[in-house]
Structures are given as structure tokens and as C-alpha cells.
């Protein structure tokens, strides 16, 4: 209205040009690596321990074929290739930044180094991933509770169901229960790389994301 000579098209073109110029100065908005964290939320999560998933629960989910979660193995490639929890993806903490992980799925982290897992958990929380958990005890716990659980020689009748379930899980994942005679003192005789589990999990594998869009 103030400048009737310039048509609306030209004004819009000018606006686009100015915004383009601002973009040129701003550079890269998405590669910004700064983040803020809600310290109250993080402190709450740490003290309530509700960011942990027990290995037994995870094993149960895998056996049931649940698919609403993604397991991330943060170990190095060699350890991952040697053995990993069935269905897990191998990502390094530096790769978590790429944004490939779906935000609306549950993300479970584990590795052979629990400190690395905890640090990565914080990294993802800082990146505003809403549901990030870590597998309680990591790989060590998976080995001692799922693959090679210690089962005492004499079992109380009320514990029979519990130990049967333990044995079932153990054989599903290709491990072997350790009877109390040899548990603890000896290392399992299994070669981790030879353990195979008949998993029919529908957890998406690396490199083949779901097709979407037009």
C-alpha cells in the first residue's frame, strides 16, 4: 500500500531474496552441535533408575518378536562381530549424531563398557530423544544372566518355574546354564562367535530403512 508501484510478486521475490541472503550468512543450521539438557529430568531419571531395562526383560521382548524398539551395540566392530545381542545394530557414539535413529522408537543401548553406554545415553538425551534406555549391566550382564546363568544343583520347588524359564531363555539364545559346581570359578567354554540364536526378530537391520514418502 505504501509503495503502489511495486507489485505483490516483486515484493515476494524481494522477501525471498532477503531471506536467502540471511541463510547465506547463517550457513548451516542443522549441523549445529550445541544442545541444552533438562538437568532436572536427567537427575530424576538417574535416581529413579527407570532408564534401565533388565536383560531378562530384553530377552523376553526378543523372544516374543516385539519390534517397537531398536537395540544399539556401542562396542567396537570387532567385539560386535564376535558376539552381539541378536537384532542389535552396531553404532559408535560418534555415529549417534547422524540422526538416523527413529525418535519415536524405544532405543536400548548397551556395550561391553558401561561407562561408554552411560555417556551415549546422555548424548542421546541431549539430542532430545524421548525414550532412550540402557541395558542394565550391558554385555556382562547378558552373558551372566542370559547366556550362562548360574543354576544351583538343588532348587527349591517354588523356584523351579523361574529356573525353567531361565533355561528356556538360555537355550533360545544358544547359551548353556552353568550348574553351581562350575559356575563362577570357570569361564564358559563357549566361543562367543559360535553362539547362534534362532531369532525371528523383526528389528530393522542396518541400511534398509522403511520406504516412505511419495
Amino acid at each position: 500500500m505504501s509503495c503502489p508501484i511495486i507489485s505483490i510478486n516483486k515484493r515476494l521475490a524481494l522477501l525471498a531474496f532477503v531471506l536467502g541472503l540471511i541463510a547465506l550468512i547463517l550457513g548451516d543450521p542443522s549441523r549445529a552441535t550445541r544442545a541444552t539438557i533438562d538437568t532436572k529430568e536427567i537427575a530424576g531419571k538417574i535416581s529413579s533408575a527407570d532408564s534401565k531395562i533388565k536383560v531378562e526383560v530384553l530377552a523376553d521382548w526378543i523372544i516374543q518378536g516385539k519390534a517397537d524398539f531398536t537395540i544399539i551395540d556401542l562396542s567396537d566392530e570387532k567385539s560386535y562381530n564376535n558376539y552381539h545381542i541378536p537384532g542389535s545394530l552396531n553404532l559408535q557414539p560418534s555415529e549417534l549424531q547422524s540422526g538416523r535413529l527413529m525418535r519415536n522408537s524405544k532405543i536400548l543401548l548397551y556395550s561391553d563398557d558401561n561407562i561408554k553406554t552411560a555417556q551415549s545415553w546422555l548424548l542421546l538425551k541431549a539430542m532430545k530423544y524421548p525414550s532412550v534406555y540402557f541395558v542394565d549391566g550391558g554385555m556382562e550382564s547378558w552373558k551372566s544372566k542370559i547366556l550362562f546363568p548360574a543354576i544351583p544343583d538343588s532348587i527349591n520347588p517354588e523356584d523351579i518355574a523361574k529356573y525353567l524359564r531361565m533355561k528356556e531363555m538360555c537355550s533360545f539364545f544358544g547359551g548353556a546354564p552353568q550348574m553351581s559346581g562350575n559356575a563362577g570359578s570357570e569361564k564358559p567354554k563357549f566361543e562367543m562367535s559360535k553362539i547362534t540364536a534362532p531369532v525371528q526378530s523383526s528389528i530393522p537391520k542396518k541400511g534398509k530403512p522403511k520406504r516412505e514418502g511419495c
Partner: protein, 200 residues
């Protein structure tokens, strides 16, 4: 709240479909309002007589691009979560050429053919029938062409990464390109376009 809402789990698959339906209706409505429901108008751009298609498309590209860029810059949107169709260079070049031939011959692209069909244009209806026959043939012959379909995979490829430039430079370059295209389109319309009195 941070967008995209679906990826952040603000609503589920079913709600996603409802939103897709509403947005789809809006998309179709504006295509029709822009005159994209007539093959004559669409084909006229190839003869430089009516450059509406180019102008509308470039306006949409620039608006969406600036919107996404600044929403990302203000932290309201996460650019890394926007779906990008993976690049398979060779099959996509062939596919693009095929689509171009179809566009020139039939006068519609797939989206505008649905718009024309919904307003009852016979050529639009036939075009949509053709699209479905094409989809059927593609599906039936897929095992034969699967190798080529997946050839030259380049993953999630974006221009800033491919050229090693910042998003800002790319945004500016596209804006300049669009403004240049608008100016060229106006010039072409004056030179080759329908006279004001109109022969159409």
C-alpha cells in the same frame, strides 16, 4: 514441540494417515486452483506459452525450502528427520526421462492427472487408468528389473553434502535460480505466449 511431529511420536500411524488425507486434499485443491487440472495449461510450458507450472513449482520449492531452513535454524524442526528418498542415480535418470515423456505426451504428471480425474476430465481419467496399468506392469516385471532398480545406490544424498557446501549457500543459490527462472519465464511468456486478446 519439535517437528516433524510424526517422527517424534506425537501421533501414531492412524493419525498420520488422517493428516496425510487432509494435506492431500489441500494439495489437490491448490493444484486445481493453480490450473494444473488442465493438460493444455501443463503442456503449454513446453512451448514457453504459459509458464505457470514452472512459476508455481519454483514458488513451492522456495517457500518450503525457506520455511524448513528457518524452522531448523530456530530449532523448531529437525532437518535430519525429514524423509529423503534414497538416490539411485542411473534408474532415477531413466525414470525421470520416462516421466518426462509421459508428461509431454499425456499432458499430466501423476499428481495432476488425479486432480484432472477428480474434476471429471476424460483425459485425466484415462491417464489415471494408464498409471495403474503401468503400476501393474511394473509390479509384475519387477523381478526382471530389480537389479537395475537398485543400481548405483548413493543413499541419503543431499546437495550440500554432494557439493560440500553449506545449507546457507545452497538456499541462496536456489533462491537466485528461482528468481532468474521467474524473470526468464515472464520474458518467454511475453515473447512466445498467448496474446492478451487470446487465441485460447
Amino acid at each position: 514441540m519439535i517437528a516433524p511431529f510424526f517422527k517424534f511420536g506425537f501421533f501414531g500411524e492412524e493419525m498420520g494417515l488422517v493428516f496425510a488425507f487432509i494435506i492431500g486434499i489441500g494439495f489437490g485443491f491448490f493444484l486445481e486452483k493453480a490450473g494444473f487440472g488442465t493438460a493444455k495449461k501443463l503442456a503449454a510450458q513446453f512451448y514457453f506459452k504459459d509458464m505457470t507450472v514452472l512459476k508455481v513449482m519454483f514458488t513451492a520449492i522456495v517457500t518450503a525450502m525457506l520455511g524448513i531452513y528457518f524452522l531448523t535454524a530456530f530449532g523448531i524442526m529437525d532437518l535430519s528427520l525429514i524423509n529423503v528418498v534414497e538416490t539411485n542415480l542411473a534408474p532415477q535418470i531413466v525414470g525421470g526421462l520416462l516421466l518426462g515423456f509421459g508428461f509431454v505426451i499425456g499432458g499430466y504428471c501423476p499428481g495432476t492427472s488425479v486432480v484432472a480425474c477428480s474434476t471429471g476430465k476424460i483425459d485425466g481419467v484415462l491417464y489415471v487408468v494408464g498409471v495403474f496399468i503401468g503400476i501393474f506392469i511394473f509390479g509384475e516385471t519387477f523381478p526382471i528389473i530389480e537389479g537395475f532398480f537398485n543400481a548405483t545406490p548413493m543413499g541419503r544424498l543431499l546437495l550440500p553434502d554432494a557439493f560440500g557446501i553449506s545449507y546457507g549457500i545452497l538456499v541462496f543459490a536456489v533462491v537466485v535460480m528461482a528468481l532468474g527462472a521467474f524473470a526468464a519465464a515472464e520474458w518467454a511468456e511475453k515473447k512466445f505466449g498467448y496474446k492478451k486478446e487470446g487465441t485460447l
